[in-house]
């Protein structure tokens, strides 16, 4: 286990370094922040002063070296648009995004597990068709459209839930559901197919032959084995949910990291873009590590 952990840590550091190189140089291809932030009539000397203020007048390798050195000392620099330390900007927003992602993933699991099991057990019947419908809808409906429809129904028409912002538990429902909807679809299909595969396995047949109650067969023997692929999927999707929350956070005016990176991209706020992508990558790598470790818990053969 320790060897696995150390190997994965080394791989993680290397991956983060590659990400830092890619994001640093690719962000600069599309132009400098002064092109977005300065008025058209700014004088050339003002543009030069702006670039000098943020060290953008230096060679790219020097800029990268200075940034990397600061990162290794725990400093992600200062945002160009807001003139606030990047970590100070990201911190609270990352917490907000994590909260929303947790709600989204929890809602997805709460829906997809029973639905997937039901679909497998009642194969070809009503509940199976419902589950397949959700699977199809979840993967084909754009989250942007879904979010607007949910707001129109639950906020504008029924006046049951707030359309934007955060503060109470009610604020989590619509954005959480929107974020979780895509995962619900995938997870339901995975649970269903996993369950179908396991329900036909010899050990399940044996359990039934021994007279074990059907609910126990499904929950203990079948579901536990079917969960392995779901854990991989959800672990991976948790990171994706945070990274893909741009539209959800924009529509619901949720003060999270997705909205922040979208705005940073528009004005080419390099330190902020680099900081967010680096932290995103770290989260996804960490989650993958957790998934690997969770395998061991769910499947004793992997531990061996």
């Amino acid at each position: 286990m320790w060897k696995l952990l150390v190997t994965r840590m080394v791989q993680a550091i290397f991956t983060l370094w590659v990400v830092s190189v890619v994001v640093f140089f690719s962000a600069r291809i599309t132009g400098s922040p002064e092109l977005a932030l300065m008025p058209p009539d700014a004088r050339p000397e003002d543009r030069a002063a702006f670039r000098a203020m943020y060290g953008l007048d230096r060679p790219l390798m020097v800029q990268y070296g200075r940034w990397l050195n600061r990162v290794l000392h725990g400093d992600l620099g200062q945002g160009i648009q807001h003139k606030v330390a990047v970590l100070e900007l990201i911190g609270p927003r990352l917490v907000n995004s994590l909260k929303l992602a947790t709600v989204g993933v929890s809602m997805a699991l709460a829906l997809s597990l029973p639905l997937g099991v039901l679909a497998a057990v009642k194969r070809g019947q009503f509940w199976d068709r419902i589950a397949m419908g959700i699977g199809l809808g979840g993967q084909s409906l754009p989250s942007f459209w879904l979010a607007l429809i949910l707001v129109l129904i639950f906020s504008v028409r029924l006046k049951l839930l707030p359309a934007t912002g955060m503060g109470t538990w009610k604020h989590y429902i619509l954005p959480g559901f929107t974020l979780g909807w895509f995962i619900t679809a995938g997870a339901t299909r995975l649970v269903r197919s996993g369950m179908l595969e396991v329900l036909d396995a010899e050990f399940v047949k044996l359990a039934r032959a021994k007279g074990v109650a059907e609910q126990w067969v499904i929950c203990k023997h079948a579901l536990r084995n079917a969960l392995i692929s779901v854990v991989t999927f959800v672990g991976f999707m948790f990171g994706i949910v945070i990274a893909s929350s741009i539209t959800t956070e924009t529509v619901f005016v949720w003060p999270g990291i997705g909205r922040l990176v979208f705005e940073a991209l528009l004005v080419r706020d390099f330190p902020l873009i680099q900081g967010i992508v680096l932290i995103w990558s770290a989260i996804i790598i960490f989650l993958n590590l957790l998934v690997d470790l969770a395998y061991g818990v769910l499947d004793p053969r992997i531990r061996v």
Binding site: P39, P40, A49
Partner: protein, 566 residues
């Protein structure tokens, strides 16, 4: 006797009525105690700092609420003597301007605004930290020195006569505010930067709203300044909360659910909400939509040939495009798009605007004839149309699509390239400019600048790296940015001739001359004068008076609470 008694009574009644009318007109209206919170949704906060000099004009809806411009503008966007600076007097040569400050204006901490604060503010805007500010850029280029003449008078010496300068001290064309010198210097820290950091945490201004708190990238909150110096603009709402909501459908839904009271929209959204019973306001003539032939002064460009530019202009049915993209919102609001008479960069409210001037016709036959004459139809080359949007003209990509449709109909080959503004500006501000032959075009969105001359400077004349003959001969710099005119020597001559004229009437005539003499150059094509729609919940906002001719001087303090405000 009886008759005289009646006459006496009637006289008394008339006198009382007259007195009441005079009293009502003379005494500032006494507002009821401010109540409720006005929640406003805007698209963006720009640089989002509480230190005004760190941002540009688009930051005014954010922090402008707690500040005042040097020179005010009336509701129609024209410079007004009703602001902090009550008089701006130029010497006959036009290179020294004396500013007279209104006595009795106070900062939020009670300190009075004096000439020292004005001098300190100009010096602050001259610092490199203010490099993104429109006024900062102009002040660094134009101001030689500032001298305090008395407690309420400042003398600004310019590097050369400059008729635009007073406009850059307003918020219709500039973005400067007043920094409290004494307060700033009393803040902790030894350097300007340290004091600046302290100021950002506890900002002060002279404006109708006082800063309360902000959540970066989310919202900012103010409270009413009940001691505001302009009694007519003391807020009637107790609080103001400005929220950043980039997505227009979200702003619509927030209005519907009552999560905001006032929000900026686009034309389609305004029409929908008007039908749903919300109150729609139009900020008139916010921006021009201007089709620019980039780098057309370069002989390598197809657009350098006036026959091509004329054909490209005559090929477009601009009236039909405006009608389709800007349908009337309602009988009272009308359309949010219009075509002005004359050439580019002019329109109602702009100095020298002539409503009777000719306008480019739609003549596809003549366009084809010109293209044939120049041999284009035998050997057509494909030009690139850059498609991008500005906040002040979200319809930019739709305009490009419409233009390309008309061009293809007369045989002009065009490819549309979907980009964002930094992509185009990278080419624009490269030296030399980096547009690719045989030609590139794009729809720019110059804000309405009522001085007329200022927009001509930014969009038409040569940039500092292109020295024209007239610049060399006069030892002056036109200082353009977009460099949009295709005969830069002509544009610079017209501009520099007008720049030194300080007399308003003569200046208006000079701008009229510019419009007349560049009309037949087809240097760019005016596509639309765009007004900006806002909507409010009628129960919350009964009335509101923003400044027209520009998208940023919002004056939220003029919003009148509706019956539902508690």
């Amino acid at each position: 006797m009886r008759q005289s008694q009646w006459l006496l009574r009637a006289g008394v009644i008339v006198a009382v009525a007259l007195l009441a009318m005079v009293a009502h007109a003379a005494v500032p209206e006494v507002w009821a105690a401010p109540k409720g919170t006005l929640r406003v949704a805007v698209v963006n906060f720009d640089r989002e700092s509480t230190a005004q000099w760190l941002g540009a004009t688009p930051m005014l809806p954010y922090i402008g609420n707690m500040n005042d411009p040097f020179i005010a503008a009336d509701e129609n966007g024209q410079l007004s003597q009703q602001g902090l600076v009550t008089e701006w007097q130029a010497n006959p040569a036009g290179d020294v301007i004396t500013l007279t400050i209104r006595p009795g204006v106070k900062f939020h901490n009670g300190d009075e605004v004096t000439a020292e604060d004005i001098k300190f503010s100009i010096e602050t805007w001259q610092r490199p930290q203010a490099s993104v500010s429109v006024s900062g850029s102009a002040i660094r280029g134009a101001v030689k020195n500032v001298e305090v003449l008395s407690k309420y008078q400042v003398q600004v010496t310019l590097t050369s006569p400059n008729a635009i300068f007073p406009h850059l001290l307003s918020w219709v064309e500039g973005d400067i505010g007043v920094v409290p010198k004494r307060y700033f210097e009393s803040l902790p820290g030894n350097t300007f930067e340290e004091k600046e950091a302290a100021f950002i945490k506890a900002p002060l201004g002279t404006g109708p709203w006082k800063f309360v708190q902000r959540n970066i990238a989310t919202d900012i909150e103010f409270e009413a300044n009940l001691d505001y110096w302009d009694a007519q603009r003391v807020p009637q709402f107790a609080r103001l909360r400005v929220i950043k909501v980039p997505e227009v459908s979200t702003r619509m839904n927030m209005l519907r659910t009552g999560e905001v009271d006032l929000a900026v929209l686009d034309s389609d959204a305004a029409k929908t909400l008007d039908k749903e019973g919300l109150k729609v306001f139009a900020v008139r003539n916010v921006a021009h939509g201007l089709l620019v032939f980039y780098q057309c002064y370069d002989p390598r460009m197809l657009t350098n040939d006036i026959r091509f530019r004329k054909a490209a202009t005559l090929a477009i049915d601009r009236q039909a495009i405006v009608k389709a993209l800007f349908p009337p919102i309602s009988p009272t609001i009308g359309s949010l798009g219009a075509l002005s008479a004359g050439g580019p960069l002019t329109g109602p409210g702009v100095v020298g605007y002539d409503p009777n001037a000719p306008t480019y016709p739609y003549d596809p036959k003549e366009a084809k004839r010109l293209l044939k004459e120049m041999g284009y139809l035998d050997n057509p080359k494909t030009i690139t149309a850059n498609s991008f949007a500005f906040a002040s003209l979200p319809e930019g990509p739709k305009l490009i699509e419409a233009i390309v449709g008309y061009w293809e109909a007369v045989g002009i080959k065009v490819q549309i390239r979907q980009v964002d503004w930094p992509f185009v500006s990278k080419k624009m501000f490269a030296r030399p400019q980096g547009y690719e032959p045989p030609g590139e075009v794009g729809v720019q969105s110059p804000w309405y600048r009522p001085s007329g001359l200022n927009n001509f400077r930014v969009f038409a004349v040569s940039n500092p790296d292109l020295k024209t003959e007239v610049e060399k001969a006069r030892g002056l710099e036109a200082g353009g940015a977009v460099t949009g005119h295709c005969d830069l020597n002509k544009a610079d001559t017209l501009y520099l001739d007008a720049l030194g004229i300080m007399d308003p009437e003569k200046l208006a005539e000079a701008v009229r001359k510019i419009n007349r003499e560049t009309y037949e150059d087809y240097w760019s094509v005016p596509m639309v004068s765009r007004s900006e729609p806002w909507a409010a919940r009628p129960g919350m906002v009964a009335d509101w008076r923003p400044v027209h001719l520009g998208p940023v001087y919002m004056r939220f303090e003029t919003a009148v609470p509706g019956p539902e405000v508690k």
